[in-house]
Amino acid sequence: MAELRIVDGILNGDKRAIAKAISIIEDSKPEAYEILKAIKEYSKEVHIVGITGPLGIGKSTLIDKLISVYRKLGCTIAVIAIDPTSPFTGGALLGDRVRMQRHSLDSGVFIRSMATRGGYGGIARALGPTIRVLEAAGFDTIVIESVGAGQLDVNIANYSHTVLLVLGPMLGDEIQFMKSGIMEVADIYVINKSDNPNAELTTMILAEFLKYRKQEKAWIPPIVKTIGLTGIGVEELHRQIQSHKEYLYKTGAFIELNRKRFMSELIDNVMYELNRTIREKLYRNLEVKKVVESYMKFEITSYDAAQQIIKLIPEILHSSTNSYVSTESPQ
């Protein structure tokens, strides 16, 4: 069976096999199940670094420099670079890898570009199983670059152990730092493009903000200044990443974090399945259409309408195919 060859390849670190497995998983092909089943006993704990931040802030360029640091230390590294799938065309321009191309022939480096394909919160839908494949393939570290993030693209925190938030010279005023979402999930703050004269001000404001923020964990997020284009600050960044990794291991937080991560991944999966199954059926359901008519005439509020529809869901879930075929259309 072709799957067995792919599985063998993955366990031997063969890049073509790894790549094919990821495609099969992304395409939701039936073979994906067999592959994941075969590799599950080979999964191991690998430190996963998640990198997020606004569009154009220099994430890919920083990863390019980070790869060099990891490689100098003899670590093998897999990078997943995620870019958004267009909600209009279904296509995607995957343009992160271009900044890392000088590593393309290094046998210790594997780079894969992934489109979100319906994944929400800044990550690719197939990210979880893809990480399983890369773990089984034996990479020492996995780095995930999320999409150029908006403020609520925090899902990267559910798929990685150490989250880097890359910011740049002041894009707004300090109120931006006070907002919720992405500012809350970082383990390390990176001020990139720090050769820009505004970078110093940004660092100061960020430091002030962090000083007064509620500290939930023992780890105090450091601020690292970098210049992605030249690599300045990247060795310090790597040191902080290693520091956080040690902190996680020493405090036992690694295990607790994994539990949280796997729970999120599974619930994400369940929600995708539910969304896929229920949404389409809701749109075609006759009872739902009646509720919509009622709402259109303002006979009921939207809250009541939603509640009425929710009551229909158990039956929709259990029903077989054609219970929602309209009786008005000719058969």
């Binding site: 065309t89 296509g91 321009l93 271009v98 191309q101 570009s113």
Partner: protein, 138 residues
């Protein structure tokens, strides 16, 4: 299941620095629903093939405006053959003289798209070519 996407690698081999065409095609194919990995400038043939492997692409699109296509393209085709990769379609774009098109096709290039080719035409060609490849591999 309708979840399959066509993955295309757009790369410029050699020293050619004119990338506007490549970027236009990359963007255009993405708008046609494909996932396009843009590998940019100054790739060696080895880098292009290795990237195609890691990204598991269906199509490699080579953009060459330097005139070096008669050396670089056969080099890419040779490396693909050496690695036993027979399920990737290679197409070429750029300023390719008409009299060189036959030469490139003899080396395994499926089609050459000259400047001004509408993107939907390229997309249609890719979809048909992939269907043919899938049928022949079954």
């Amino acid at each position: 299941m309708g979840e399959e996407k066509i993955r295309v690698l757009i790369a410029k081999p050699g020293l050619n620095g004119h990338d506007r065409g490549a970027k236009v095609v990359a963007r255009g194919l993405a708008e046609e629903g494909m996932e396009v990995i843009y590998a940019g400038l100054w790739n060696t043939p080895e880098q292009i093939v290795e990237t195609a492997i890691q990204e598991d692409v269906d199509v490699i699109g080579l953009s060459i405006l330097s005139g070096a296509h008669d050396v670089l393209v056969p080099e890419v085709m040779k490396i693909l053959k050496e690695k036993g990769i027979n399920d990737v379609i290679v197409i070429v774009g750029g300023t390719i003289p008409l009299e060189d098109v036959k030469f490139l096709k003899e080396h395994g290039v499926k089609e050459v798209f000259l400047p001004g080719t509408p993107i939907p035409e390229i997309a249609k060609f890719i979809k048909q070519a992939i269907r043919k490849t899938n049928q022949s591999l079954k």
